[in-house]
Amino acid sequence: MDPAADSPAPAATSTASTILDTLGEEVLAVMSPVSICMALVVLLISILSPPSSPASPSAPPPVTAATLVYLESPSDSPGQKLVGALLDAAVFVALVAVVTFVLVALYYYRCTGFLKNYMRFSAFFVLFSMGGAIAITILRRLDVPLDAPTALLLLFNASAVGVLSVFASAVPILVRQGYMVTLAVIVAAWLSRLPEWTTWIMLVALAVYDLVAVLAPRGPLRMLVELASSRDDELPALIYESRPTVGPAERSSSYAPAMWSEEMQLPADSARSGVNQYERAGQQDNLGSAMVEMRDLGGSRSRVHQTTSSSGSMLQMGNLEAGQISNQGGSAQHAVIQIEQPEEEERAPLVSAASANSAVANEEHRQISSSDPPDEDFEMFESSKGIKLGLGDFVFYSVLVGRAAMYDLMTVYACYLAIIAGLGCTLILLSICRHALPALPISIMLGVVFYFLTRLLMEPFVVGASTNLVMF
């Protein structure tokens, strides 16, 4: 705070950019899509719910894997609801665990082609059937007339582009990110129709499962991640990648095509170049799981229409499980690198003493650069730098916020802030311990705590004060 130290700074500031301009860019690049996703889900729910809220015979709570054991009805006593919801959550998490192990096994025996196609199919399914159902509801609600052939054509085209953009390399990153968010919004909108108690218990259970599966020594997700990194191979999965973002558009958008092409030239399996980008970027993240999750939801929907056969529910569970996996793996290890990256830039020209902090980053840097020509080095580094977040994280964050939106706007804001704070904490942890971390636990716990605090403590207080026009 001493003025003497301040005074020389402004002179330099006028020309050079201050650190305020760039600091936190990467964090924001993850937070803004999450915020957009949550906002869209809240909007969707508030558009869809009000008129049908008194009598909604068309939308009973969906029979999914999450409500296999117990279907909540408003007349049940709290004890019944609690036990039922606990059972539901236990079954759900168990199913997810089973599916995750199946996926790990499939990956272990190198059935990557099957996994990838499964992922494609599920993306298409989510976009086409679930997205279509949501689109129809919106059209109905807004009284927009649209003939069936046109709607089908539009929907099919949109879904096809979505599938392509999820796995093909030539699609602009913005389109891919847009589809990722769309997938998450659709799945979250479906999931938020679960009955209330089940939703809360399931969210908590998933957060705990996420913690165990990523961090326990034999946790399935951890095994998956380690397997992938030991093979130097990638999992086909759905992960939101922040690097070439909307935010720092000027820089990243120009970079993006170059990076992609370079990646494709890498010595990785030639057949999988498209997938490779993903794998490379999120080396240890389970990319595929989010996709799987999406698929599950779609599956569950369709099954609902048929009559839920037990096998169908199993599949759904599997999908959800996969989603969890992606959640866990989603938070990539790249945060550290990102944070240290400015240093890296500075040092490169200076070649001065490498600080102890950046030593880690340097190692990573070298690992990557060793296989590449020197001038590509920086860009590869850049490309591996983005923070990655599983689509499952998007989905369950949005489910929480969407559930809050059914109560009041106040709880929505509180939950949003809590989730973002949890995400920030996770990112900080990520920069401290440099391996994949579960992104759900902190955020979900904070979100749930804030929801109930807001609902039980704050709302009567604030409403009481502000309806008397007394504020402070």
């Binding site: 705070m1 003025p3 130290a5 301040d6 005074s7 020389p8 700074a9 402004p10 002179a11 330099a12 500031t13 050079a16 950019s17 201050t18 650190i19 305020l20 301009d21 760039t22 600091l23 936190g24 860019e25 964090v27 924001l28 937070m31 935010g247 400015p342 240093e343 830039e345 500075e346 200076l350 600080s355 009041d408 706007l409 106040m410 804001y413 509180a414 802030l417 809590a418 973002i420 704070a421 920030g424 804030f450 605090l453 807001t454 039980l456 403590l457 704050m458 009567p460 207080f461 604030v462 409403v463 009481g464 004060a465 502000s466 309806t467 008397n468 026009l469 007394v470 504020m471 402070f472």
Partner: protein, 249 residues
């Protein structure tokens, strides 16, 4: 009254905040993060206050002294929170300066610091507007409006939107004044902030009297204008001082 009315009320309360956000804050990622954390901070303080007061609610209608107590305790608590926020900010500032040194970029300049304090204040004001006004605004998007018994001339939503606007301005700019006061150890600035906050809060008590909102709301706006003016003078003075110093050196 339909969607247009709802949007209009929301814009009355949040319009200035929105333009500040898009014009100044959105371009700098770090400021956005500051905004989020400051909003969270205010939310936590509100939850703590309401947790303390939860046992005494709801207040019997007709009694006004509980509201006086409520206002006094809340304002005192929030001013205490502001001190905590300042401590945190100092820590962050040290870290930022160390970081800037390490990557050999310039340290935070005076305007940078003022931007941060502006953002911190906007976070507080935004949280206030969101929780006290925006979250009650949903019915305004429907087909009717709502009047409180004690204020039968103005719709409730309009009154709360204007009050939120006033508090948003007061919170935003008093944070600049307060940070400057703490940094420069100027007692007058340090005292000005809680006093303004307290006066503004007490003015909302006028709304408890029948028809009082016609007097209380404009008075609150005056307080907001006073805060704005004070902060403007102070910032101008600091900036010219600094220019002089730079020029002389």
């Amino acid at each position: 009254m339909t969607v247009a009315a709802g949007v209009g009320y929301a814009l009355i309360a949040l319009g200035p905040a929105f333009s500040l956000f898009t014009g100044v804050i959105a371009k700098k990622p770090f400021l956005v993060l500051t905004l989020l954390s400051s909003t969270l901070f205010w939310l936590i303080s509100l939850i703590v206050i309401s947790g303390i007061w939860r046992g005494f609610l709801p207040v019997k209608s007709g009694a006004w002294w509980p509201y006086v107590l409520l206002i006094l305790t809340s304002v005192m608590f929030q001013e205490g929170i502001r001190l905590v926020f300042w401590r945190l900010y100092k820590k962050v500032e040290e870290m930022l300066d160390a970081f800037a040194d390490r990557i050999s970029k310039p340290r935070l300049s005076l305007t940078d610091k003022m931007l941060i304090s502006l953002t911190g204040g906007l976070g507080h004001g935004l949280a206030h507007a969101v929780f006290f006004c925006l979250s009650l605004l949903t019915p305004a998007f429907g087909r009717a409006t709502f009047y409180v018994e004690r204020c039968s001339r103005m719709p409730f939503f309009l009154v709360s939107a204007i009050i939120s606007l006033g508090f948003l301005l007061i919170h935003t700019f008093s944070m600049i004044i307060a940070f400057n006061g703490y940094g420069e150890r100027k007692k007058s600035d340090q005292i000005f902030v809680p006093v303004v906050h307290l006066i503004a809060a007490v003015m909302t008590l006028i709304n408890l009297a029948p028809g009082g909102c016609l007097i209380g709301t404009p008075l609150l706006c005056v307080m907001a204008a006073v805060t704005l003016q004070y902060s403007w003078r102070m910032v101008e003075q600091r900036l010219t001082e600094q220019q002089h110093r730079q020029f002389n050196s």
